[in-house]
Symmetry: C2
Subunit: 286 residues, 2 copies
């Protein structure tokens, strides 16, 4: 295990770890002793039906979702039992940088959105959750939301995918390719065989720039909206938000999530699952 | 001189070359024996006042503009004398790849939009053009259009800048930085000291991907609009249009134009020129 100090509770706040056992991925590989990191808010009721699942976006962890959970907010822990699972490959769950050989680092097997959702389903069973009032998330969180809705329609009362697609479009795949190329063009990337993640600093910075370009709108820049977030200039925003976000991360972890993003396609799941249940109506999309 | 076969009349059609003499750039360097490549359509009338100037976009030459000139089109050579100047740095005019030492290749001095416009002004005087019925162009062609309107307002009757800005926005500067990083991250780039342009193939391909992502809309991809342009698939579009466009080009040329794009700012020219002429109204923007 790489002792990357970024992927710790000190950086992201406390979290629980669910032992998935020997977890067979859709691609055929088995992640032995696989781990799923997560946090919860609120209490599960006796019927196990007041739960909300809030999966995370690309490069995010449960820490990024915490501001959206709170008294008086839609995700109110006084009313709901809210589960925030970290992605496989995301750095806190089993991931390239923390997984033992022979599946370590660049040899970490390809993970799919379906793998994440099946792992989360296993976690919810362990926690006693019978029914989800809501699954919601943005970007890759939305991909997981779609997958939940079509894979476990009996369990999902409402699905609210935000800013994400059920099947990655070609333009979005191009976006993924462009930021992966920005990262892997760094000679220090070396096919994933680097000594420590910070060796790939130039690639990580370039990747951050692609995200800065695509992650917020032209209007955001034209109107200097970075001021509202406490940045003193365009350059300060680029470094203070985007470079600062990606620089401590592990390139193999990022690429594991990126592949998952790029290959997301719930349409085949939709066909298989919904046709089996026809003409029963699937979950309601709000 | 690098004998890059791409920057020839065989590839771009015939063109004329105007000798600019010893041309002093805004940055202070002198391009001795500087050349401005151009084409014309139609005939200049005796008063020299039926001219249209149609400057080119980033990485484009006069060849890219030819389809917009023709009988029955807005740019009708039966009515107007149409001048299409190639950019300094663009490969046909004086450019990094064709300029002699000590200003050759990576040592080619920084060129500005104002330099292009002053060189074009010199060309038009040579051709006997007294008055421009119209200046128009898109992207970097629009940047030159804005510059013309504020630098030579007495000469410009109408200015139609299309899809471009008078001052590069921070989001647009980020776009330029991202595609330059995609190119220069190729170790073969070597600070501009490569043996031949094709050595930097990987960087050129990556740059092409950034343009593919930003150069057409999400809707274009979502609706597979590449079909209308004769491409058989998304991959075929990526390679057949974008990689094919950039792969034969010279990286130092591209970066010369990119720097010009990034630093475009006619606002100071506007202030100086228009304030001097106050309260005379400047050129009409259609």
């Amino acid at each position: 295990m790489d002792a990357n100090a970024f992927y710790t509770a000190e950086q992201h706040g406390n979290f629980e770890v669910h032992d998935l056992g020997d977890f067979v991925l859709e691609g055929g590989a088995t992640l032995r002793d696989a781990k799923l990191a997560y946090t919860t808010y609120g209490e599960l009721n006796e019927r196990g039906d007041n739960a909300i699942l809030f999966p995370v976006m690309f490069s995010g962890t449960h820490a990024a979702m915490a501001p959206y959970v709170g008294e008086g907010l839609a995700l109110d822990p006084a009313q709901y039992f809210i589960v925030i699972p970290n992605q496989l490959g995301g750095g806190l769950s089993s991931s390239p940088h923390n997984y033992p050989a022979p599946y370590d680092a660049r040899y970490f097997p390809e993970v799919t959105i379906g793998d994440d959702v099946r792992a989360q389903h296993q976690l919810l069973a362990h926690l006693g959750v019978k029914h989800l009032e809501l699954v919601t998330g943005w970007s890759m969180g939305a991909q997981q939301t779609y997958e939940w809705a079509v894979r476990y329609p009996d369990m999902v009362e409402r699905a609210v995918p935000i800013g994400g697609t059920a099947k990655t479009t070609s333009h979005c795949a191009l976006y993924v390719d462009v930021f992966c190329e920005a990262l892997t063009s760094d000679p220090a990337w070396n096919g994933g065989d680097y000594h420590q993640s910070t060796d790939v600093e130039e690639g990580l910075r370039r990747m951050a720039h692609v995200f800065a370009m695509m992650g917020v709108s032209r209007e955001f820049y034209n109107e200097n909206m970075w001021q509202e977030f406490g940045f003193s200039s365009y350059d300060d925003f680029l470094k203070g938000l985007w470079e600062n976000w990606f620089l401590p991360m592990d390139p193999n972890n990022l690429l594991s999530m990126a592949k998952k993003w790029r290959t997301a396609d719930v349409v085949h799941i939709l066909a298989v699952t919904w046709l089996k249940r026809w003409p029963r109506l699937g979950p309601r999309f709000l």
